[in-house]
C-alpha cells in the first residue's frame, strides 16, 4: 500500500531546520509541541516567517490558522525580522518607578524609535519586557543579550548610537 502520509519538508534546505525538526520529533510530532517548535524556529532564525509557521503546523498536524493564533498570542514570538542590534527595556514596576519611562522617552527623542520598532537603517530594534526579574538592578535593559543594570538614559543612548 502506498504511504498516504508524506512528512512535510522544510521551506528551504537551510541546515538550521534540522534543529527545529529534531525538537519536534523528540516530542513525538504532536500538537502539544507547537510552542516548543516555535521557540526552536525563532532561536534558529531570529523570527518566524510564514514558511516557518506553515512547516511547523504541517509537521505537528495543527491548522495554519491555529499556528498563527498561537504565534501572535505570545509576545515572545516575532513575525518580523529584527534589526542588527536589539535593546530590550524592562518596564517592570521596580524599573518603572526608577525611570524606565525616561529611558524610553530619551531613546525615542534621540534615536527616533518607539518600542517594538526598528530604526530605518535596520540597525537597532527597541523592545520592552514586562519584567526581567533583575529588579535589584533597576532600571535594567538588555542590549544584544547582555543585561545592563542601573542604566542612565544618556549613557545608554550614547552606547546605542555608537553601535
Amino acid at each position: 500500500m502506498p504511504a498516504l502520509y508524506k512528512k512535510p519538508s522544510p521551506p528551504s534546505d537551510d541546515k538550521r531546520w534540522k534543529i527545529v525538526e529534531t525538537r519536534m520529533r523528540r516530542m513525538g510530532d504532536k500538537p502539544a509541541a507547537l510552542i516548543e517548535a516555535l521557540h526552536a524556529a525563532q532561536e534558529a532564525f531570529g523570527y518566524l516567517d510564514e514558511g516557518a509557521l506553515n512547516y511547523v503546523g504541517d509537521t505537528l498536524g495543527v491548522p495554519h490558522s491555529r499556528v498563527y493564533g498561537v504565534a501572535t498570542f505570545y509576545s515572545f514570538f516575532t513575525l518580523k525580522p529584527q534589526g542588527e542590534h536589539t535593546c530590550v527595556v524592562c518596564t517592570g514596576t521596580a524599573c518603572y518607578i526608577n525611570g524606565a519611562k525616561e529611558i524610553l522617552a530619551r531613546i525615542e527623542r534621540d534615536l527616533g524609535v518607539k518600542p517594538k520598532q526598528t530604526t530605518a537603517d535596520n540597525k537597532l530594534s527597541v523592545l520592552t519586557a514586562r519584567c526581567l526579574g533583575a529588579c535589584s538592578l533597576a532600571p535594567a535593559v538588555i542590549v544584544d543579550g547582555e543585561v545592563a543594570g542601573k542604566v542612565i538614559a544618556g549613557d545608554l543612548v550614547a552606547r546605542l548610537e555608537a553601535m
Binding site: 502539544a32 505570545y74 514596576t93 521596580a94
Partner: protein
Amino acid sequence: MSEQNAPARPVRRRATEEAHEGPTRAHAYVCEAASCMSLQAHDITLKLGEAAAAAGQSDVVVKRVGCMGLCAAGPLVQIPETGQLFSAVHPDNVEPIVAALKKVKPGVEKLPLGPFFEHQVRVVTENFGEVDPESLDDYLGRGGYEALQKVLSEMTSTEVREELTKSGLRGRGGAGYPTGLKWTTVAKAPGTQKYVICNADEGDPGAFMDRSVLESDPFRVLEGMAIAAFAVHATEGYIYCRAEYPLAVARLRSAIRQAQRAGFLGQGIADTSFTFDVQIRLGAGAFVCGEETALIASVEGKRGTPRPRPPYPAVEGLFGCPTLINNVESFASVPSILRKGSEWYSAIGTGKSKGTKVFALAGRIVNTGLVEVPMGMTLREIVFDMGGGIIDGRPFKAVQTGGPSGGCIPAQFLDMQMTYESLIEVGSFMGSGGLIVMDDTSCMVDVAKYFMDFCRDESCGKCVPCRVGTTQMWMLLDKITRGNADLIDLAQLERLAGVVQKMSLCGLGQGAPNPIFSTLRYFRDEYMAHIEERRCPAGVCEFDTAEVPA
C-alpha cells in the same frame, strides 16, 4: 541552544592546577545568580581562582554559589569561614579577597552579618549561597534527597499528604490555598494518568523569588516535585518556566540531567518501583499563563486562555487528566517539611499562615534583594531593619504587594504583621512575594495607571469585562493624570472597577481593579488633587496645557 542559554562553564576549581590532597583551609563563594552574573560575576570566579593560585594558596577552593540575597551590593563574594562579605567586586580587583583568604585560620570566629542576614529564617533558601547550583553532590551534602528517600522507603502516599496537611503549608503562588488539601484532591481524583506541574511563570513585575530558587537550588524543586508525584500518584511532571529566565532554564536542564543520571528521576527512583520524570516547557511572554487553566493550555501548545472553573485542574487538568499545580516556592518548601517534620514547620509563623515566605525587595529601597522571613514579621522590620530604609532617606509612602492584582500598603500599616489574612484585610494580597517600596517621588494615580496598562496589555481577550473594562479603566485613569477628568469620571471609574472585579473570568480580570481600589482607599487625596487642582503632588504627571473649560 543559543549562547545565552548555554550553562556557565567551570564549576569550581582548586586554586592550583595540580590536585591538592590536603584539607581545604578556606573557601571563596562567588554569587553567580542572574543579578551578579550581569555584573561579570563569572569572570570574578575565574580571576579569583587564578589570583589565588598565583599567590600559592593551594588549600583554597573558589566555588560558584547561588543567590546570596543582597543583590543591591552585587557582585558578592563571601568567605564562609569568617563570614566576610565583599560587595561590588570587580574582576580586575580581587586582591583584597586573596589577602583575606590568606589570613583565614581554622577555628576563626565569624563576623556578624547585620540585620539583613540575621533576621532571616531560611527554609526554602537554606542552600542559597552555600551550594553550587549545578552540583548534585553539593546538594546531597546538605541533606538533599534525604526527604525523598525517607518518603519512598518509610511512608505511604497517604502519610505524606497527612504530614503536609499538618504542616499548614499554603500555596506560595499568591492565593494561599492549603497545599495538603490540594494534594489530597488530586490523589483522590479518579483516573490512572496524573500530572504534576510546577508553575515557574513568575510574571508579576517586581517579583524574582522563583527565579532565584531555580537559579540557586534547582534540585530542591525537583525533589519537591518528586515527593508530590509520589503523594498524588503521578508519573509525569512539567516545569513551566518563563523564557525570560535563560539562566534558570539552563540550571534546571542541568539539574534534570544529573538527577536522571543519579536515579532521582526516571524509572525506579532510589531503587524502588516509583517512576517519575520531569520536562521543561518554556513560556513565551504571556502574563495570563500564570493562571492555572491558562498555563495548562499553554503546556498543551495552545493559546494561553483560561477557562471557567470548575472543573478544577485537580480533577480535570492537563490533557483532561487530574493535575497538581503548585508554585516553585511551594515545591521548594516540601523537602524541608518532610525531612524535619510538620511540627517543626508549623512552629514557624502565625496562626493561619505557617512557615516562612521569601520576599523580593525592590523599588526605592536601599537593600534590594531577597529575604526569607517567618510569616508574621512586620512590614517595618522588613523594610527598615532588613531593607535599610528608603534610598536617600526620603519619606516612605507605600509598599506595593501582589503585582498587578495586588494593592498598596500605606505607612499607617507599617507595624502590621505580614500574613495572608492581614494583607487581604488592608485591601492587598500576598501574591508571589514581590514588595515594591515607593517614596514620595511616586504618584499613586500614575502607579494605578501603570498597572492598568499592564493588565490591558496582558488581558487575553477571551472575556468581555476584562478585555473592554481594563481598556476603559485605563482611559479614565489617563484622563485623570492628564488633568482632564471631573468627578463624574471618578465615579464612573469606581463603578466600572466593581463590574470588572465581579464579572471577569479569571484572576487577571478579577484582580485588575485592585490597584485602583487600594489607591483610592488610601490616597484619594492624590486623585482629588489631580482632578480638582490639576496638580500632581509627586510631580510625576504632565498635564495637558489646554485648560479644561470650567
